[in-house]
């Protein structure tokens, strides 16, 4: 597969020399090219996840999972749909421990640090089908068989590209398999807004949450140390998310700068005034009033205000 890919990419390189280059440096697409040694990385990660991290997954057949995945490597890079990964997902899916799901937007590294290799939480990248594809890229060449190692399409090039379709399918499955308390970590310092109204979480995760299996949703809006607080709970896009969840009938809670995660961020900024622990302790909370006691909310909210003023110095 790799040798064929190299031969084909050599040919396509020659073709590019004869034909005027499309974009900067002649790359056809905007995204990173296929990861070299894709198959080895894939099989290695699958084997490692199955045997080291989760002994109960020992029955996973990594070769079969690869065979199911690689069908997309023969398809036109702009005609790969989430459904093309159905067999791959069905072979690699496994249960997610209750209350351990962690969704996120715009804070990949922080999430992986906090999740502690699936010990504390299990975000998508700590699930088998998430671990396998994490940080990888893949696509067939546009007009030839063989992998394109120079570039691969992003959503700006075309919607139905191999990598985006993979993550859409993975996200949907992850949502479907999440139970108990659902956690969401958002970046309140992201200039474009903490909750992207069009994004993986909004379009491919929220709609697939199983209401009957979920107790409540906890939103953490984290602000980067030393960066502006663009949005907090109840503001801007976060408010849009809260309203959406409420409309869908979910119990939710929003916390600014959830303390354990804040402490993790402080590891890197231990001398910053934001990491003076007195101020790191306080957090403001917004809660959806219990659905069954709407008239009780008239007492509940003033109570919260009193409580909040007692906690804050």
């Amino acid at each position: 597969m790799a040798a064929l890919g190299r031969a084909s990419s050599l040919l396509s390189l020659l073709a590019l020399l004869l034909v005027p280059a499309a974009g900067a440096g002649g790359a056809r697409w905007r995204g990173e090219g296929t990861s070299p040694h894709l198959r080895s990385i894939f099989l290695g990660r699958c084997a490692e996840y199955s045997s080291l991290l989760s002994p109960e997954l020992r029955d996973k057949n990594c070769t079969a999972i690869w065979e199911a995945f690689k069908v997309v490597l023969d398809k036109d890079p702009c005609s790969v749909f989430p459904s093309d990964y159905e067999l791959f997902i069905s072979l690699s899916r496994h249960s997610i421990p209750r209350d351990k799901s962690l969704f996120w937007e715009n804070n990949h590294l922080l999430v992986t640090s906090y999740a502690e290799n699936a010990r504390r939480f299990m975000p998508l990248c700590d699930v088998l089908y998430g671990r396998i594809g994490d940080f990888l890229s893949w696509c067939r060449q546009e007009n030839a068989s063989g992998l394109d190692y120079r570039s691969c399409p992003t959503s700006e090039d075309c919607e139905n590209n191999p990598v985006d379709s993979y993550w859409k399918m993975a996200s949907m499955q992850y949502s479907r398999d999440s139970t108990g308390v659902i956690h969401v970590m958002l970046n309140g310092s992201e200039p474009k807004g903490a909750y992207p109204v069009k994004g993986f979480f909004a379009d491919f995760e929220i709609p697939y949450l199983q209401k009957d299996k979920i107790t409540r949703i906890e939103i953490w809006v984290m602000h980067e140390i030393g960066r502006p607080k663009v949005e907090s709970c109840g503001e801007g896009s976060v408010k849009i998310l809260e309203e959406r969840l409420e409309k869908m009938g979910f119990q939710y809670r929003c916390i600014n700068d959830h303390l354990p995660v804040k402490l993790l961020m402080c590891v890197d900024h231990s001398t910053h005034p934001d990491c003076a622990l007195n101020s790191a302790v306080t957090s403001t909370r917004r809660e959806a009033p219990p659905l069954c006691a709407e008239h009780g909310a008239s007492l509940f909210i003033p109570f919260l205000v009193v409580l909040a003023s007692v906690i804050q110095p």
Binding site: I41, R45, A47, S51, S113, L263, C266, L277
Partner: protein, 307 residues
């Protein structure tokens, strides 16, 4: 009474019309045939069975060992540290397994790992080496956040071997998945221990500038002379390159007792280093790593009272 033979009574019918002698002969031949057939079958079964590995007291080679190290090599050289993208992972994988396959798993030597060492040479920047002893989880959580620091497990070889077990057998070219020598109960010169001694030695030899070490102030032997840190790493730091070893001694956040830098074993470490002309400094409950501990126990008083 006359001695005469008894003839079968007319009511009985003789079987197969054969004499008794012939019948006995047939039974013996038949019995021999059965024995021969059984022997042949057993022989075939035994011949087809893989040669039995030796039995040891430790856990066997990790399942899918080869795929795991190959996958890790590629992940490391293509994604984690792409500046090492030129490394040949196929060659590295082969050199790794050649170091222990078909060899006595209790007779492993540094030389066995030399070809592998040569293929995986890597420079760690000065002041960025982070050693550790009895702080496995904490040190790697810290290195994940502080990405410019390197523990041994953040180098290519350390990354590849981390958490795995492996051994072979003199009589076979296969990995022994059933058992591998336990360091204490079987032998100390086993394939895995020799690997870690070899790579730790090189890791220490290559260090320069200020070297850090994360120690556990909550165990009774904070600086343990039997640890790899003591036996291998301390003794292979080069005084011409490494001028200071700084220790961060972390105590369990739920049980902070007295100042651990004045612990007797730490004084011992200081003595050893001063004899080697390396300055030793020590910090108790280093603040950034204290934050890391607080992540687990955010409500703890020592996480609140600090300013």
């Amino acid at each position: 009474m006359a001695d005469h033979r008894f003839r079968p009574v007319s009511g009985e019918k003789p079987c197969c019309d054969i004499s008794k002698k012939a019948r006995i002969c047939l039974c013996v031949v038949f019995g021999l045939l059965v024995v021969v057939i059984i022997a042949v079958v057993v022989g075939i079964v035994m011949w087809r069975q893989p040669p039995q590995h030796q039995e040891w007291k430790g856990a066997g080679t990790t399942a899918h060992f080869y795929e795991i190290i190959l996958g890790r090599c590629y992940t490391y050289t293509q994604i984690v540290r792409p500046e090492l993208g030129h490394k040949d992972c196929q060659k590295i994988g082969k050199a790794f397994t050649n170091a222990f396959l078909s060899k006595d798993p209790c007779g492993s030597t540094e030389q066995d790992y030399q070809p592998l060492m040569e293929l995986t040479n890597q420079t760690v920047p000065c002041d960025k080496t982070l050693l550790w002893s009895k702080t496995n989880e904490l040190v790697h959580e810290y290195a994940w956040v502080q990405r410019e620091l390197f523990t041994l497990e953040n180098t290519l070889l350390g990354y590849m071997g981390d958490g795995l077990r492996w051994c072979g057998d003199l009589g076979s070219s296969e990995m022994n998945y059933q058992s591998c020598p336990d360091r204490r109960k079987d032998c100390s010169n086993n394939s895995v221990s020799v690997f870690w001694n070899t790579v730790s030695k090189r890791f220490a030899e290559d260090a320069c500038g200020v070297v850090h070490v994360l120690l556990n102030g909550s165990v009774h032997n904070t600086f343990d002379e039997r640890s790899t840190f003591a036996r291998v790493e301390v003794f292979n730091l080069h005084p011409e390159k490494v001028h200071t070893l700084q220790a961060w001694v972390m105590q369990d956040i739920r049980n902070i007792s007295s100042d651990s830098c004045s612990d007797a074993s730490i004084k011992n470490l200081k003595l050893i280093l001063s004899k080697r002309n390396i300055t030793f400094t020590c910090e108790d409950n280093y603040r950034p790593i204290r934050f890391l501990q607080c992540v687990k126990y955010p409500e703890h008083s020592s996480c609140r009272s600090k300013i």
